[in-house]
């Protein structure tokens, strides 16, 4: 499990931004935000927090070509 920093002042979809994800025990005090436990595969800005059901959800999948090498 990890910890996700939820920022209510940054709307995403119908909820809030997942601004940062840290390992458990690595959280720190952030005014105006709150931390919730999340799955290990949650990545900041690729997920958003839905306050209605208190779940972290994946954004619509972006189409990205394979990067050049």
């Amino acid at each position: 499990m990890k910890e996700a920093l939820i920022s209510p002042k940054e709307p995403r979809e119908t909820g809030y931004r997942v601004a940062q994800v840290v390992e458990q025990g690595q959280t720190f005090e952030v005014g105006g935000c709150f931390w919730i436990s999340c799955a290990d595969d949650v990545v900041a800005d690729q997920f958003w927090y839905d306050p209605n059901d208190k779940l972290i959800k994946l954004f619509s999948v972006e189409v990205e070509d394979a990067p050049i090498t």
């Binding site: 720190f28 800005d45 972006e62 070509d65 990067p67 050049i68």
Partner: protein, 276 residues
Amino acid sequence: MTQAFNLSQFANKVNSSGQADLTTAVTGTLPVANGGTNQTTYTNGQLLIGNTTGNTLTKATLTAGSNISITNGAGAITIASTAAGGFSNMQVFTNPGTFTTPSTTTQIKVTVVGGGGGSSSPGGPGSGSPGAGGAGGAAIYVGPVSASTPYAVTVGTANNTSSFGALASATGGSNGSARSGTTGGAGGAGGTGTAGTLQVQGSYGSNGGSGPGSTPVVPGAGGAGGASIFGGGGVGQIPGTLSATPGGNYGGGGGSGNTLPGATSTGGPGVVIVEY
């Protein structure tokens, strides 16, 4: 009718040098015209103020102006400033740490900037460019603190949050979005201040340019990174001419591009500045 002068009584008020005792030999209040004050009682802090009208002395107390306090004591008047003093010290955190307020510090100013966002992965010949990174948000706190108290300071690296305890916090900027085919990606959103007296959103990164598709050697130009309150947005790549540059100046977003090398960049790290 006149009253007989009682010499024996007056003699009792005069000492051997012929001087009258002012405590017992004189009655009434000595007027200003005779060198007196024409006053007999006072309260703490009262002053005698001369007045040319009537040639009098008037009792008065000091009136406190703005940001001034006056304390009237027994034989003393204390005048003090009640305004918050200016800040004369500054400490800049570019790494996490702890700030402990000095024993005499009760007011503080803290400026917090989150880390900037970076660009997404480049596309390829003929494709669009990804969006550039958004800048870190910012927050400024000015107000009271507890003296001799430690405050945790967190400084966000690229994309991450900076904070000064619960008093001032700002999130990091988002990375720019990937392009879709020949369409450039959207610039990343700036972070925002989430706590503090003033909360500021960082600028969005610029969108990536669209590619021509059928002309593989000319991909879309990169986007410029967003600016934090300190500026610092990275420049976008011009393929073959100019590489994308990372965000700087604390919290600037990274520029984007489409042709390696020089196509990707990261956001600038945040900062916490304490003035006290």
